[in-house]
């Protein structure tokens, strides 16, 4: 089913939803954007050619999440109820929605489901918005996605003049838009053209065929020295990445809480062992881990690339390192003798 949502009615519909759900929308903070709870004063940041800078994965895997509290009086741990009331996230980009589906294979796997992740995922409806003019830093189509990819979404919007066309994708979203008027055949055709044009405007950023095999082959190669040479070793690429999910569980003893925090393989202490030994002692091994995880280990696990081409690591790397260029270099790197 397809509906037409007039832009001038957007705030009204969001307010209506907000009565029943906790609604999150992309909003401007300083010069960046982030998903924040919707209020009547919210200034929606839907115009950006790409996703929010701060990733919406934080809505399901918060950067810091209290898992348990310790009660001094009873000398017992107390569970923390992290089940939110019904949530609706409006304005998710397809790359981020796909990432949620990928992360479900980690946090909601057959043999183990993470209750913190699952409770929030189950309670959330995802309304996406496609990217009409994908910027040059994005590369979703290269990694199997697309600017109007429906993967992981409950509904997706396409911007038209003065309105959005809403495509309902799952039952979850069905009733939300029922009060709107249906789209005309003409509008549906118009949207199809917009989506195709957006998709076709993105040329392949690198060759993915055989890339995993290539990376596996050059694991010990000098290639990694070269590409990691300018890396600062900060956590921007991984923290902003929609599919990076590493965490570190710490006991914040002063506040008597056990907390799960984002962690990153780009930090030295990530792999530092208690003995003092560090199996990933330099940026070479850490950079390798980041790329190998996304473009080799994910394929081992679920036969999918663990990158959705969202472009954040490309846009915000302080030294301008571009994962696409790194992978192009990998593809053309001559295999060589084992690295000393």
């Amino acid at each position: 089913m397809m509906y037409i949502l007039e832009k001038k009615k957007l705030n009204k519909i969001l307010s209506t939803w907000a009565q029943e759900h906790e609604v999150f929308v992309p909003q401007k903070v300083e010069e960046y954007s982030q998903f924040l709870p919707y209020t009547e004063d919210s200034e929606l940041a839907l115009k950006s050619p790409h996703n929010t800078r701060y990733p919406p994965k934080a809505l399901f895997l918060p950067q810091s999440e209290v898992m348990l509290k310790f009660n001094n009086r009873t000398q017992k741990y107390e569970e923390v109820n992290t089940t939110p009331k019904s949530r609706l996230v409006f304005g998710v980009r397809p790359c981020d929605a796909k990432a949620f589906r990928l992360l479900d294979t980690v946090f909601d796997a057959e043999d183990y489901a993470d209750p913190y992740w699952k409770a929030k995922r189950d309670a959330t409806i995802l309304i996406g918005i496609g990217c009409e003019v994908p910027p040059s830093t994005c590369f979703c189509t290269t990694v199997g996605g697309g600017p109007f990819n429906q993967d992981g979404l409950d509904a997706i919007l396409t911007e038209l003049e003065g309105s959005y066309l809403v495509q309902i994708l799952t039952e979850k979203a069905e009733t939300l838009f029922a009060s709107l008027s249906p789209a005309t055949i003409e509008q549906e055709k118009q949207v199809e053209a917009i989506q195709t044009k957006a998709h076709d405007s993105m040329s392949p950023a690198f060759e993915t065929d055989g890339l995993k095999q290539k990376l596996d082959q050059i694991f010990e190669s000098s290639y990694w020295d070269k590409i990691s040479e300018s890396c600062l070793g900060c956590g921007i690429c991984t923290f902003l990445c929609p599919t990076c999910f590493c965490f570190d569980i710490v006991d914040e003893v002063q506040r008597k809480e056990r907390v799960r925090n984002w962690d990153t393989c780009m930090f030295r202490i990530y792999s530092q062992e208690a003995s003092g030994h560090n199996p990933r002692p330099t940026r070479r091994e850490r950079t390798r881990q980041r790329l190998m995880h996304k473009y080799s280990y994910w394929l081992d696990h679920i036969d999918e690339i663990g990158c959705t081409g969202c472009g954040r690591c490309v846009r915000y790397c302080p030294v301008g390192l571009d994962i696409r260029a790194m992978l192009r270099t990998a593809n053309t790197h001559e295999s060589e003798a084992v690295h000393a």
């Binding site: 050619p49 810091s64 600062l232 921007i236 902003l240 570190d248 506040r255 302080p318 301008g320």
Partner: protein
């Protein structure tokens, strides 16, 4: 710019030909003309992709501490970078005799965020001269006055010329106005105590603890930063007001008399957090109370790092 790049190439070539250095740290062109990257050239490497313009965002002195002391390093330095190199030499992070500083008087680093705010994202072409910066967005050229699009730190720069370079390429520029340097500090000081705290909170508490500020800073070279220490843990790693505030305060304090106001921390920050108002204030105190400015030579210890039996403050004795 192309004339300067040609000079730079021939100087680097000379350094390798005459066996003066083992590696040269400079900038190179990347796929996007807007994002030149730090580059590391060795003898025999092609210098074809060497780049230098006002989009070179990073403080190259940051990479000095990655090399063994025996490595003879050539490094392209602008004003702030030359002072960072000096400060590192003072702290014995690399011997002066194994450094060759290729100095370039700096007209300031362009802040792409300021440009994008006015054009829109996905800027493509880029051109610059002394006065004007121009970019192409959606096939249209946009022109800006250089001073309108420079990084805040660069607008406040007092010493654009490299300090004691081994060679200077380009003509020296007039020194900056110390009064301008005060502006950020002044506007912060003008606030009431409560307002100052609110401002600090708003900035610090956006922090996602990616430590890009630390990693982009040449003076943050500790093998183990205090936030990474365990056990004991000196600060919470949880994203809490206490943890992020502690990080921002202690980071700034560790820079006292060491920060060369290059602004690399703010340029790297993915959350647009202001930090230099703290370090600039600390630097001002160092200047007023100890007559010391970091990196102005490569021998004077910063006051908080010097131990002297003749110290006029005999509080220890």
């Amino acid at each position: 710019m192309s004339e300067l790049i040609a000079k730079l190439k021939s100087e680097i070539k000379r350094l390798f030909d005459e066996d003066v250095v083992d590696v040269v740290i400079a900038f190179k062109k990347a796929d996007s003309p807007l994002r030149p990257q730090p580059a590391f050239y060795r003898k025999g490497d092609s210098l074809e992709d060497l780049e230098y313009n006002s989009l070179c965002q990073n403080n190259l002195a940051n990479y000095l501490t990655r090399y063994p002391h025996e490595t003879r390093i050539g490094i392209v330095v602008r004003g702030c970078e030359s002072r960072s190199v000096n400060a590192l030499v003072v702290e014995k992070q690399h011997p002066r005799e194994n450094l060759f500083k290729i100095g370039i008087p700096c007209q300031g680093i362009v802040d792409l965020r300021k440009i994008v705010k006015q054009t829109g994202e996905d800027v493509s072409g880029y051109k610059e001269d002394q006065e004007k910066i121009s970019v192409v967005f959606k096939n249209k050229e946009y022109q800006f006055d250089r001073k309108d699009v420079l990084h805040d730190s660069c607008l406040r720069c007092v010493h654009p010329n490299p300090v004691n370079p081994d060679v200077l390429l380009g003509d020296p520029l007039p020194e900056g106005d110390p009064g301008v340097l005060r502006q950020a500090v002044e506007s912060f000081e003008a606030l009431t105590k409560q307002e100052r705290y609110t401002w600090f909170q708003q900035e610090a508490e956006r922090c996602i603890r990616c430590y890009a500020c630390r990693e982009a800073c040449p003076m943050c070279y500790c093998t183990e930063c205090f936030v990474d220490h365990n056990p004991p843990r000196w600060t919470e790693s949880t994203i809490s007001p206490a943890g992020t505030q502690a990080w921002h305060i202690i980071r700034a304090f560790h820079q006292t008399g060491r920060c060369t106001s290059c602004g690399a921390c703010e340029r790297a920050c993915p959350m647009d957090i202001k930090m230099t108002y703290l370090t600039d204030k600390l630097n001002e105190d160092m200047l007023n109370q100890y007559d010391f400015a970091p990196g102005m030579d490569d021998t004077t210890q910063p006051p908080f790092a010097s131990f002297n039996l003749d110290d006029k403050n005999r509080f220890v004795a």
